[in-house]
């Protein structure tokens, strides 16, 4: 059994009367891509926000390896090796692609930040940034301001920033949103390549991509998990087909 | 003791009247208006000038309110309307410039002296409370006006269609606009109302607190503290905070006169430690 890196147990989040996430449990193991699917409003993005520490859970626990990180802030969890991408592109528009990634690498430096030396003269960070850009095929665009990158390139930059910090867990929130077919193929290949060394959570609506990548699938609706298991098992699950796959008219066998 | 309590309540209610405009303008229009205190000052000076020329405060009040509302509409149309899409920094600066302009215009028109405004004869009596104590009727009048206006604000916002439109414009301007609401008009109305409220507060306060150049700035800072403690955009928060500050300030002056000015800020610091978004604010 693969090493479980991030585990959520009976996680819930309430907003006043609304229960956005209701008793969700899942485990992310190294070498596995765990996809979470469900209709809009199912609570998937809230789940990512809970796992990344941006939102505090109303009840339940989150464990990073053996440590209870339920009460940890977003920056502390990120430093613990959990990186996320955002559904709506959330890069630094005025900075170059390189600087975006370099900052991501710098975040994991630890200790007191340097006050004197030019930040570009820290070889470890520059190397990590360039490697992340290379992995996402953005090496040629390193010096370009992020705001002038194409949409597909910006989505790729999101992933590059997540990689630059050398995380062990990746939370990918709809990485393919708004992408054209060629870009999609590129990102799918990229994510597949990342599987071996990371534990990956993938939120996506593109069912082709999901079934091409996922090892495990969790299906959510109305904040609850309605099915969870291997990709194959979920595909054949009648209830899931009715709620989500069938209703959407997607995917034949 | 009873006198102090009544004074605290009256002061708090008056502060609420001014602060309500500030928090509404910010809550509904997203504009931080440093010149809000200036409108209070303008109200007080208007009370002085109009009461002298018209003969009584009673006549001065309606005239002053109309003038203030008109001023509010003009300022909104000319300047504030250009600030909606701008960041807070520019709003702060532009309204800071407005403060300078208002101060100097007042200085040119009415001078820099301190003035007093006589209490209207009808309200100048004192109401006996106990054998030895009595309380000025005028102060009760001030409290009464503030309570009446607070109730009117609550009723308008919660129970009328106009209020519903205003609240819709506040929570989701684009949606409200696409549904046919005239945002521009609502903004102008809210701003003019806020200005009129501040000016009215200045006018009715004038007989008890005297009219002096720095009064606008002084009340502005307190209003900021009220809005911070109460939570931006929350009228209920503003009321609670204003009353809290009324007590804090009044009793502070009695108990530790030299440090009374600081007491209010310590209160704010305390609230911030536990609730960075204010007592009733949405973070």
């Amino acid at each position: 059994m693969n090493e479980v890196l991030l585990r959520a147990n009976d996680l819930s989040r309430r907003f006043g009367g609304l229960v956005a996430v209701d008793g969700v449990s899942l485990a992310l193991a190294r070498g596995e891509i765990h996809a979470v699917i469900g209709p809009n409003g199912a609570g998937k993005s809230t789940l990512v926000n809970l796992l990344s520490g941006e939102l505090a859970a109303s009840s339940g626990t989150i464990h990073l390896r053996e440590i209870d990180v339920t009460r940890w802030s977003a920056d502390r969890i990120a430093r613990g090796g959990v990186a996320r991408t955002f559904q709506h592109t959330n890069v630094f528009p005025a900075f170059s692609a390189f600087e975006n990634c370099r900052l991501a690498a710098q975040a994991h430096a630890g200790g007191v930040p340097g006050l004197w030396r030019n930040a570009h003269r820290y070889p470890a960070w520059s190397a990590a940034a360039l490697a992340a850009l290379a992995a996402t095929a953005l090496a040629a665009r390193a010096e370009v301001a992020a705001s002038t990158l194409s949409h597909g390139e910006q989505r790729a930059l999101e992933i590059a920033m997540a990689l630059a910090g050398a995380p062990s867990v990746l939370l990918l929130d709809e990485p393919l949103a708004g992408m054209g077919p060629e870009d999609v193929a590129g990102v799918v290949g990229l994510v597949r390549g990342l599987r071996e060394r990371h534990a990956i959570l993938l939120i996506e609506h593109d069912m082709d991509a999901v079934f091409a990548l996922a090892d495990r699938l969790t299906v959510m609706a109305n904040g609850r998990v309605i099915a969870s298991g291997t990709a194959q098992a979920i595909r054949e699950n009648a209830e899931v087909q009715e709620v989500y796959l069938g209703a959407a008219g997607e995917l034949a066998s | 003791m009873l006198i102090q309590i009544l004074n605290s309540v009256q002061y708090g209610l008056l502060l609420f009247l001014v602060a309500s405009g500030l928090t509404l303008i910010f809550g509904i229009m997203g504009v931080i208006n440093l010149a809000h205190g200036s409108f209070y000052m303008i109200g007080a000076y208007m009370a002085f000038a109009l009461a002298e020329s018209l003969g009584s405060l009673w006549l001065a009040l309606p005239v002053g309110i109309v003038l203030a509302a008109a001023l509010g509409l003009i300022i909104e149309w000319l300047l504030i309307s250009r600030l909606y899409r701008r960041d807070h920094l520019h709003q702060v600066l532009l309204t800071f410039g407005l403060i300078l302009v208002f101060e100097e215009l007042r200085s040119i028109a009415l001078g820099d002296d301190v003035h007093s405004v006589p209490i209207p004869a009808l309200l100048s009596a004192s109401l006996p409370l106990t054998d030895t104590l009595s309380y000025p009727v005028y102060r009760l009048f001030i409290s009464g006006v503030c309570i009446a206006l607070a109730a009117a604000m609550y009723w308008t916002l919660q129970k009328t269609r106009l209020g519903a439109r205003i609240r819709a414009a506040a929570s989701n301007p684009e949606m409200a606009q696409s549904l046919g609401l005239d945002i521009r008009w609502i903004h102008a109305l809210v701003f003019a109302t806020g200005v009129a409220l501040a000016a009215l507060a200045g006018m009715i306060a004038a007989p008890v607190s005297s009219v002096f150049p720095g009064m606008g700035n002084q009340v502005l800072i307190v209003c900021f503290v009220i809005v911070v403690i109460g939570g931006i955009g929350s009228l209920r928060g503003a009321l609670v905070a204003a009353l809290l500050i009324g007590f804090c300030d009044t009793f502070g002056k009695v108990l530790f006169p030299e440090f009374a000015g600081i007491a209010v800020y310590l209160l704010m610091a305390g609230v911030l430690l536990f609730r960075p978004a204010g007592l009733f604010g949405r973070a």
């Binding site: 996320r84 005025a94 930040a119 | 920094l89 532009l94 410039g97 300078l100 302009v101």
Partner: protein, 321 residues
């Protein structure tokens, strides 16, 4: 603008400032000294507002605290020891910034503006209402601090001018270095997108607090120099009017650039002199100017220069075809 061109321009300005005393008469010497001291104040605010995105409306508090420390510890008839009093004054400002900073750094946006203003007012009332430091009358600093370095006599306006110039350049260079460092880059990231910085793993509150304290300390340096130069300290140095004015100087020059902070200070003070000559009610002109400036050139002078350069570049492109 290329780095080379920028260095040449800055160097030229420096030379101009260095030679200025040889040409100028006493009044202008004192005026430019005052401007340079204020520039340090504006530069300190630039770190906070222009680079970290924290709009403080209470920065004058740290300016005034250091000024008051000097006034309170200065002997009545002889110059204070600058090597003892300056560090103490800076420490006072830094501590105040640390205490207030820890309370306000959790807030953001409008709240932050309002609480920084309110806390500065608290300090203002402390100095204004109590007799601890002369109340609204203020205190005099009869003799300027001594450096005990032969040849540098702060009592001499010319010497003071050059000391102020060196310190201004020093603060400028310090901030330039700081902003290129990992710490400085993180601050700029926080201004650009604080949420993203947190999700990357930066403990943004600590960075913001550090920026607040550094800015407060540098403001203290300006306050100490101002007190030494004027020879007089009063609560108005802490008033929110002062905080608003320094913010205006920053915007006028163009925040987000260090040069802009200095330019804005020069422009503002010179404008103030011009307006004061025209009328006693110069604030009316200044207020109107501020309003117009915000509406018409919100990027400040530095922004105007940028726009002008871009337009020239576009014209050159067009004519080149």
């Amino acid at each position: 603008m290329s780095t080379r061109r920028r260095i040449v321009l800055l160097g030229g300005a420096l030379v101009l400032l260095a030679l200025f005393p040889l040409l100028a008469e006493k009044f202008y010497l004192q005026l430019v000294t005052r401007i340079m001291v204020l520039s340090i104040f504006t530069l300190s605010l630039d770190l906070l507002v222009g680079y970290t995105g924290m709009v403080s409306l209470g920065h004058a508090a740290y300016f005034g605290i250091a000024a008051y420390v000097l006034a309170l510890v200065a002997p009545a008839d002889v110059g204070a020891n600058v090597w003892l009093t300056l560090p103490v004054a800076l420490l006072a400002s830094a501590l105040a910034a640390l205490v207030i900073g820890s309370l306000v750094v959790r807030t953001a946006g409008v709240y932050f503006i309002m609480v920084t203003l309110a806390f500065a007012q608290m300090i203002y009332y402390f100095f204004h209402d109590t007799r601890v430091a002369g109340g609204s009358d203020g205190i005099y600093v009869n003799v300027r601090p001594q450096t005990f370095i032969p040849g540098i006599d702060l009592g001499d306006d010319l010497h003071f001018y050059y000391v102020a110039l060196m310190l201004m350049v020093g603060v400028f260079a310090l901030l330039a270095t700081l902003l290129r460092s990992p710490f400085g880059r993180a601050l700029q990231g926080i201004k650009a997108n604080e949420r993203r910085m947190r999700s990357l793993g930066f403990a943004t509150l600590r960075y913001k607090l550090a920026a607040f304290v550094i800015a407060g300390t540098l403001a203290g340096l300006a306050g100490y120099l101002a007190a030494a130069r004027e020879g007089y300290v009063n609560p108005e140095m802490l008033a929110w009017h002062q905080s608003g004015t320094v913010l205006m100087m920053l915007i006028l020059g163009g925040m987000g650039t260090l040069v802009g902070a200095v330019l804005g200070t020069f422009a503002y003070v010179l404008l103030q002199e011009v307006f004061s000559d025209i009328t006693r009610h110069w604030q009316l002109l200044m207020g109107t100017f501020i309003i117009v400036a915000v509406l018409v050139f919100p990027q400040g002078l530095a922004g105007l220069a940028q726009q002008w350069r871009r337009r020239r570049a576009r014209l050159e492109d067009a004519s080149g075809e």
